[in-house]
């Protein structure tokens, strides 16, 4: 039985208050860091832990921090990406609603490592309880001297604020998030320069996901070796998996990184809801290409999923049983990306609009065989030709549906109707 780390407080009543958090050992890691670690030693600790970003990209957190220029004259920023909007994902919301101090303590630790004196938490606007709990937790942390000037009697100062998103998926993309904090339309920017060099207000900026930051107090308290020992060494740690769709026991599960997808869905999730058969699983939010049932023995970590042309992403695991229509799912995913495209890059903006039109007629049974080739050509033209990963994710997800379930698309064309509805 795996002992919960990130969710260990979540089941305690009123765990969101600072009293419960401190009683469970909260903010002791921060005291350790401020009194016993130099910023460089802290960065080395996080490098040694092999912690990789939980927002989706899986970039090593310590390495990202290490890229921040050391010049003390430069102002630096830390941003927490709490814009959780990847369909199928609800992990950061649980942390913010149930245990917001875990995220805040992680942020103070991260800010100390990179020398930031100002930090913003970018929370998606629809998460009103997350916003309320985080704002209240910030007030408590200021009052207790974990934020503000001369934190815990040291020379370290940090101000922290919430910035609310307002309903735009693209703000989860880090450069778009920064544009949004700066009061602009959230349209991604070409990298380089990377935000660690030139980010918020032109200053070096680190953007870390909520779950990534929540890991930090535990790494400080229990050590890099402990963390590295959970799951695969190159992609380790406790991991939050969001399970939904056609599954008996949907929910948020904290388990080691690298657990098999089959074990997650069948043992923890209780298998398919209907008692029937699983058709496919989306392993990491809708940007992650779907895996047919035959591929379910894959390990849930960054490298293993990448090796089979999909990704861990946000670990939003969506189960499709045999009653699901893949054409309809692919159409809805593409509609989502089309709606959320910021409109900056032509391949994403126009290509997705075109793909949606084709998918709608295919679902209705009005499609032609040539439409499938046209969709594949469109995916090829969108992928790799936009500034950010939104277009890539859309094209990648659609390509996988076409590749694994082409026969379902063909049946819609040949029957002249959807065989499922």
């Amino acid at each position: 039985m795996f002992d919960k780390v990130l969710l260990k407080n979540a089941e305690i009543p009123n765990a969101h208050g600072i009293g419960a958090y401190e009683a469970a050992g909260g903010y002791r890691a921060l005291a350790t860091v401020l009194h016993e670690y130099s910023p460089d030693e802290l960065i080395q600790l996080v490098k040694d832990s092999n912690l990789r970003g939980r927002g989706g990209a899986g970039f090593p957190t310590g390495v990202k921090w290490g890229f921040v220029p050391k010049d003390p004259a430069l102002e630096k920023y830390l941003c927490c990406n709490a814009d959780e909007s990847e369909p199928g994902t609800f992990k950061d919301r649980v942390i913010m609603e149930k245990d917001p101090h875990q995220m805040i303590e992680g942020m103070v630790i991260g800010a100390y490592a990179i020398g930031a004196q100002k930090a913003y938490i970018y929370i998606r606007g629809e998460y009103v309880l997350s916003i309320e709990r985080t704002e209240a937790a910030l007030k408590e942390a200021y009052r207790k001297g974990y934020l503000g000037e001369r934190i815990l009697g040291t020379d370290f100062n940090l101000e922290m604020f919430v910035h609310c998103g307002a309903g735009a998926y693209i703000c989860g993309e880090e450069t778009a998030l920064l544009e949004s904090v700066e009061g602009r339309r959230a349209q991604p920017k070409l990298k380089p320069p990377f935000p660690v060099v030139e980010g918020l207000y032109g200053c070096p900026t680190v953007i870390n996901n909520v779950e990534t930051l929540a890991c930090l107090p535990h790494i400080v308290q229990r050590g890099a070796e402990w963390f590295r020992g959970i799951g695969p060494e190159r992609s380790p740690g406790p991991k939050l998996y969001c399970l939904s769709g056609h599954v008996r026991k949907p929910g948020l599960y904290e388990l080691p990184m690298g657990i098999s997808l089959r074990e997650l869905v069948e043992d923890h999730g209780g298998g398919p809801r209907s008692g029937g058969r699983i058709k496919a699983v989306i392993p990491g939010g809708v940007s992650a290409p779907m895996i047919p049932e035959s591929g379910l023995d894959v390990a849930m970590d960054f490298d293993s999923l990448a090796a089979i042309d999909t990704m861990l992403g946000s670990a939003g695991v969506i189960v499709l049983d045999e009653t699901a229509c893949v054409v309809r799912v692919a159409k809805r995913i593409t509609e989502f990306f089309n709606h959320e495209s910021c409109g900056k890059c032509t391949p994403c903006r126009e290509g997705l609009d075109w793909a949606v039109k084709i998918l709608r007629r295919l679902e209705d049974g009005r499609g032609k065989h040539e439409d499938l080739d046209q969709l594949e050509r469109l995916c090829g033209s969108i992928f790799g030709n936009s500034f950010c990963a939104l277009g890539d994710g859309a094209a990648w997800a659609l390509s996988a549906a076409l590749k694994h379930f082409r026969d379902e698309f063909v049946r819609h064309i040949e029957d002249g109707r959807c065989p499922f509805h």
Partner: protein, 158 residues
């Protein structure tokens, strides 16, 4: 002009090194006060922050949660993304359309309800879900919907 709004906006503006960054929080504050971000309200926000009007307008029209058109007292947003779609969210939307006598995207003539479909609301394990003025309603069924609508109508009648 409400001095209350000016004070609140000045307070949030202090969180950022420049005034442009305060436009989004200012729009939220203005929306809470005026319900709808009409052209006049956008001008007021630009005036308080002393930023070009276009900066305010371009944000109000980019982000879905800012309403430049009137919205009903109760804004119902039904998630129709994949996890909810798989658990028959379309049937939930159809039931709401039939009960409210409007189509998705519309507002009832009495101004009480606006019905929208939404992208993933981050509550996939309790699908199908909707938010009413951003409060979650989970594990929806047609019967649950009828109860929720009755409660909302009752809340206004009181």
């Amino acid at each position: 002009m409400a001095t209350g709004l000016r004070d609140k906006i000045e307070e949030v503006a202090g969180r950022y090194p420049n005034r442009r960054s305060a436009i989004m929080p200012a729009l939220y504050l203005a929306q809470a006060e005026h319900a709808q971000l009409s052209g006049e309200v956008l001008l007021e926000v630009a005036d308080i922050l002393d930023v070009p009007e276009i900066w305010v307008y371009e944000l109000a029209t980019f982000y879905d949660m800012f309403h430049t058109e009137p919205v009903g007292t109760f804004h119902i947003q039904v998630c129709t993304n994949i996890s909810c779609l798989l658990l028959e969210a379309e049937g939930i939307v159809a039931h709401l359309e039939s009960r409210l006598g409007i189509e998705r995207g519309d507002t009832t003539p009495d101004g009480l309800f606006t019905l929208s479909t939404a992208e993933c609301l981050g509550s996939c394990d309790t699908a199908p879900v909707m938010q009413v003025n951003y409060a979650f309603h989970e594990n929806l069924s047609e019967r649950r919907i009828d109860e929720i609508l009755e409660n909302l109508r009752g809340a206004v009648g009181e």
